[in-house]
């Protein structure tokens, strides 16, 4: 017997309630869709205090009124936000019992990336002690850090354990209604990391997190908050790999950095989410808002190696509020096959003698589109602001595209702004030259690409740089026939 549309809807609605959002939820994944109940349920599930629940609801209300941005140079089918599940607890049941059961192609990729066996197990979902998903990784370094007063934990934990810090800073750099995806993230963020470095403390190790998208059809909404108190220093690494999926996955993270007077934050990312297959099917939609604020004499450096995702929309930015503060952006973005990336940065000069540097390296292959979009803004109060921007594009083949959109807005005559841009192509002569020295074409391309990206690779912490180089190699495999 056929249902009427109305009946069907009702049935589905009541089904949703069977899951019992407000009390104990047995299921690992919430049903699809987004409404106030879901937002409240996420908050409850995480045992958040009332102010956080309210903050999420407020964000959700902003989001409902907003529309997806369309100005980026990317084309994709917009996600159906009601067809996504907004919470996924770690799947306690491993997918496999041993590595032998895992897709060998995936394993060979891991191997070439130099990922340890334990890590391979983790990433592939093989049974082991720790399983990670959108709930943060427990870190073993916690104790060492605690001795120095450094707090490094999941944002959920921070909300419970350090509510004053979170309350004081969350949403201060990326406001809830900053943009469509930031609002969405603020409403439903699943988890993420929190880091606080006390006054004058130099964090003795690179802080790193691994995130991955695990459950099919589960949007991933990470929230990261890093606070470097006066005169402190921290280097933070964020790396991602994702197993292949044939359905689109939405990823909308928010990262907020706060560098107080004389503090320095180095934030490095290697992003390697599933880019879709060779014909452009599947892949992650990566719509990220990353922004940092620098107080007096503070410095923030963003370094990113972006090789993954089907569609990337990402502009790690710096608000140079304090006098003499420094913002840096070093980026390598690789696109192959049908990938599209629209990425760049914003440097907002508010304080006097503020300095920013932008080095962007775009590498396009296959039928991909790679855009750099950058804004350098100098406000009227920002005497003697300086910016240097360099945007280089490397093209492989004739079917891909590289685009540069530099925007410069200055309201102060003392500003010094320099912009350089180049576009080059990997030439057959270069490849033949390498071939003649015994280097095959694939390796030759890797060599040329690594050379092209060197200035940025050099900015990465050692262990990350090695992984990033291999990643570039793998991402461009098969890009020249």
């Amino acid at each position: 017997m056929a249902y009427t549309e109305e009946e069907l809807k009702k049935e589905l609605e009541t089904k949703e309630y069977e899951y019992g959002f407000y009390t104990d939820i047995e299921s690992e994944t919430f049903p699809n869709g987004l409404n106030e109940e879901i937002v409240v349920a996420i908050s409850k599930k995480k045992e958040e205090p009332e102010w956080m629940t309210e903050w999420r609801l407020e964000s959700f209300r902003y989001w409902k009124e907003m529309v997806e941005p369309e100005w980026a140079n990317v084309h994709y089918t917009k996600p159906d936000f009601q067809a996504i599940s907004y919470y996924s607890a770690p799947n306690k049941k491993p997918k496999y019992n041993s590595l032998d059961e895992v897709d060998p192609e995936l394993l060979s990729t891991f191997e070439r990336l130099g990922i340890s066996l334990d890590e391979q197990k983790k990433l592939a979902g093989v049974a082991m002690d720790i399983v990670m998903d959108s709930v943060s990784v427990a870190t073993t370094f916690k104790k060492t850090l605690a001795e120095k007063g450094i707090i490094f934990c999941s944002i959920s934990e921070a909300i419970k354990e350090h509510p004053d810090l979170v309350k004081k800073y969350i949403g201060t750099v990326v406001p809830q209604k900053d943009n469509f995806y930031a609002a969405l993230n603020s409403a439903v963020f699943s988890d993420g990391s929190f880091c606080y470095i006390p006054k004058g403390v130099r964090c003795p190790m690179e802080l790193s997190t691994y995130f991955r998208i695990n459950q099919a059809g589960t949007g991933q909404f990470e929230r990261t908050l890093v606070i470097a108190d006066e005169g402190s220093y921290v280097s933070y690494l964020e790396g991602c790999t994702a197993p292949s999926r044939d359905e689109n996955q939405l990823h909308a993270a928010v990262v907020e950095l706060i560098a107080l007077d004389d503090a320095e934050i180095k934030y490095s990312t290697v992003q390697n989410w599933f880019p879709g297959d060779k014909s452009g099917k599947g892949g992650v939609y990566n719509f990220v808002t990353k922004r940092g604020i620098c107080e007096k004499n503070a410095k923030i450096s963003w370094t990113q190696v972006e090789t993954g995702s089907a569609v990337t929309w990402k502009y790690p930015s710096c608000i140079l509020k304090g006098d003499n503060s420094i913002g840096e952006f070093y980026s390598i973005a690789v696109t192959n096959n049908y990938q599209q990336a629209d990425t760049g940065t914003k440097m907002i000069h508010l304080g006097k003698n503020t300095k920013s540097t932008i080095i962007s390296k775009g590498i396009s292959a296959g039928k991909s589109q790679n855009s750099y979009r950058g804004l350098v803004q100098v406000n009227s109060r920002a005497e003697n602001a300086r910016n240097f921007s360099q945007c280089d594009s490397l093209l492989m083949g004739n079917e891909c595209g590289a685009h540069t959109f530099p925007y410069i807005e200055t309201k102060n005559k003392t500003a010094q702004i320099e912009h350089e841009a180049t576009t080059s192509k990997i030439g057959e002569d270069q490849i033949f030259y390498c071939n003649q020295r015994g280097i095959d074409t694939e390796k030759a391309i890797a060599l040329i690409v690594n050379g092209f990206s060197k200035e940025v690779l050099n900015k990465l912490p050692m262990e990350f740089a090695v992984e990033a180089q291999k990643l570039l190699e793998i991402s461009l495999e098969g890009s020249v026939g």
């Binding site: 033949f432 390498c434 003649q436 015994g438 280097i439 690594n450 050379g451």
Partner: protein
């Protein structure tokens, strides 16, 4: 070692090599001279396996093996080296890194492990000293911003590092000052042994005073029109090519 038999090659429907026969044995040095555009670099490229050029007739044999289906990098692994007339720039890749990659790729092809770092360093030190190359130079991007002479010297440095069986030097002398010429020639002579062969392409007999050839061939319009010993180079220097062009037209 190298046998070229009735080699015809074309690029974009233009026939450039029109029946070349040449044989190089181990221990020999051959020089090829000839006017601009006669096909000298093309011949070098075809031996090295550049795919742009299509062999329409005849072939190239290295150690009795037809190279037709051998990729350029495999030819390099077998011991064929070409010092380019116009070396290519690779920004961001240091000379050292490039050499390390090249050597280890060749070793890999021969089933060997990567060269240990200290061995590599020792070799780099030796060869760069032999060619009077400043070590700072080796950390610069390959050929980027190198002067004409520096590029050529760097080609010979690479040759010295790779220790090929057959070295083809395409106008390596052009752009070198007098001292550099002697140094480079010296480097080539050090490589010479009863197991190696060298094919020198040049316009000037001066180089041949340092690298003394066993045979000199004149290439004109895609064919070898005359062969002789080193005296032929002297004769060419005196008389130019016109008399040969006329001779071959007959």
């Amino acid at each position: 070692m190298l046998k070229i038999k009735d080699l015809h090659a074309k690029v974009e429907d233009k026939e450039i090599l029109k029946g070349i026969n040449l044989e190089l044995n181990a221990g020999e040095v051959h020089a090829i001279m000839g006017p601009n555009g006669s096909g000298k670099s093309t011949l070098a490229s075809v031996i090295a396996g550049k795919e742009e050029f299509e062999i329409t007739k005849g072939g190239v044999f290295f150690e009795n093996e037809d190279l037709e289906d051998t990729a350029p990098e495999e030819r390099a692994h077998k011991g064929i080296f070409l010092s380019f007339q116009y070396p290519v720039e690779i920004p961001g890749v240091s000379v050292t890194n490039f050499m390390k990659t090249a050597i280890n790729e060749s070793r890999k092809a021969r089933g060997m492990e990567d060269m240990p770092a200290n061995e590599m360093l020792k070799m780099i030190r030796e060869k760069s000293e032999m060619l009077d190359i400043d070590r700072k130079f080796l950390s610069r991007s390959l050929n980027e911003g190198f002067s004409g002479g520096e590029k050529k010297r760097n080609e010979i440095f690479q040759m010295a590092m790779l220790e090929p069986k057959l070295a083809i030097l395409d106008e390596t002398d052009s752009g070198l000052d007098i001292d550099a010429l002697r140094i480079v020639a010296n480097g080539v002579n050090k490589l010479r042994s009863k197991d190696n062969a060298v094919l020198v392409i040049t316009h000037y007999q001066r180089l041949l005073e340092y690298i003394v050839p066993d045979f000199v061939h004149v290439l004109h319009d895609g064919k070898i029109v005359k062969s002789g010993d080193k005296a032929l180079a002297l004769e060419l220097e005196e008389k130019g090519y016109d008399w040969l062009k006329q001779e071959s037209a007959v």
